[in-house]
Amino acid sequence: MSTTMKTADGTTTIEAVEDMPAIRMSRDFRATPAQLVRAHTDKDLFVQWVGPNGSNMTIDHWDARTGGSWRHHGDLDGEEYAFRGCFHTVRDDRLVQTFTYEGFPDSVALETMWFEDLGEGRTRLHVHSLYDTYEGRDGMLSSGMEVGVNDGYAKLDDLLEAGAV
């Protein structure tokens, strides 16, 4: 496995952090930090872009404030994939949440997102996902996650371009 990969359209860098059971991702958007925070915390926006194409996301629970929690599931080729977690921190410049795929209920990742203002209406999204084992991290990296990441962020690009965020 390579430690760095790019999504199919080359926009998102995904890398395994050396010496840490963590995944680091970064991606630039034509958006302000505030728009990206909104895209990740407003459930009506979030449900429109998260996940691979055709996954029919449904939000089961959503309380996007510090101390709140969330659950959503997608339906892909007749199979249901559910995820849940807690919002540990919801701030203008930073989101921290826990993340569990319910198919592996004992595995928990701690995800931190921050939003680097590049000026001229562009923002770099940084995502850092920390796992408690290297196996958990490598399992996620080899799961085909880049497809969902790529599809999802491309949908978010479209929403931003359409002025929906």
């Binding site: 010496d19 840490m20 059971p21 629970h61 510090t66 101390g67 709140g68 929690s69 659950r71 849940r84 977690g85 807690c86 919002f87 540990h88 921190t89 930073r94 921290v96 826990t98 569990t100 928990v108 701690l110 931190t112 920390l130 408690d132 084992t133 290297y134």
Partner: protein
């Protein structure tokens, strides 16, 4: 610095995982797993034992169920320390939560406690703290954390003995 230390009374083993940003603790209690889950989730029991001797803890928010969250403030004289986090999972023999000391608001750890039934009314607690870097892991180990841990669990021992846990 040794990567393993024991509390003053020798009851709790604390060690750094050599390859992960993780601190592990184990300690045996004269209690059932259910009693230990209660000691960590019942607000009236928790405030009686958490923290070092001489520190008073006040819960500001407490919702000890999967997807809930908590906040408390510990005081001793003029000293005040605030902490908050989320309950990612509250199970019959397992608790997973996030933890932030408000003095370092960008720092967050993922804490897992698993209660192993040893039979004869004894239970071994396995606790891990996953932190953001190996440096943070080593800082925690050299911070004097073992004093508060030792005091706290000794108080919990007495509560259990008095039948209050």
């Amino acid at each position: 610095m040794s990567s393993t230390l024991k509390t003053a009374d020798g009851t709790t083993t604390i060690e750094a995982d050599p390859n992960l940003p993780l601190v592990r603790m184990t300690r045996d209690f004269q209690a059932t797993p259910a009693q230990l889950v209660r000691a960590h989730t019942d607000p009236e029991v928790f405030v009686q034992w958490i923290g070092p001797n001489g520190m008073d803890t006040q819960l500001k928010h407490w919702d000890a169920r999967t997807g809930g969250s908590w906040r408390y403030v510990s005081t001793r004289g003029d000293e005040e320390y605030a902490f908050h986090g989320s309950f990612h999972e509250v199970g019959d023999d397992k608790i997973v939560q996030t933890f932030t000391y408000d003095g370092f608001p960008d720092g967050v750890s993922l804490e897992t406690q698993w209660f192993e039934d040893l039979g004869d009314g004894r239970t071994r607690m396995h606790a891990t703290s996953l932190v953001e870097s190996l440096e943070t892991r080593d800082l925690i180990l050299s911070s004097g954390m073992e004093v508060g841990i030792n005091d706290g669990y000794a108080k919990l021992d007495r509560l259990l003995e008095d039948g209050a846990g």
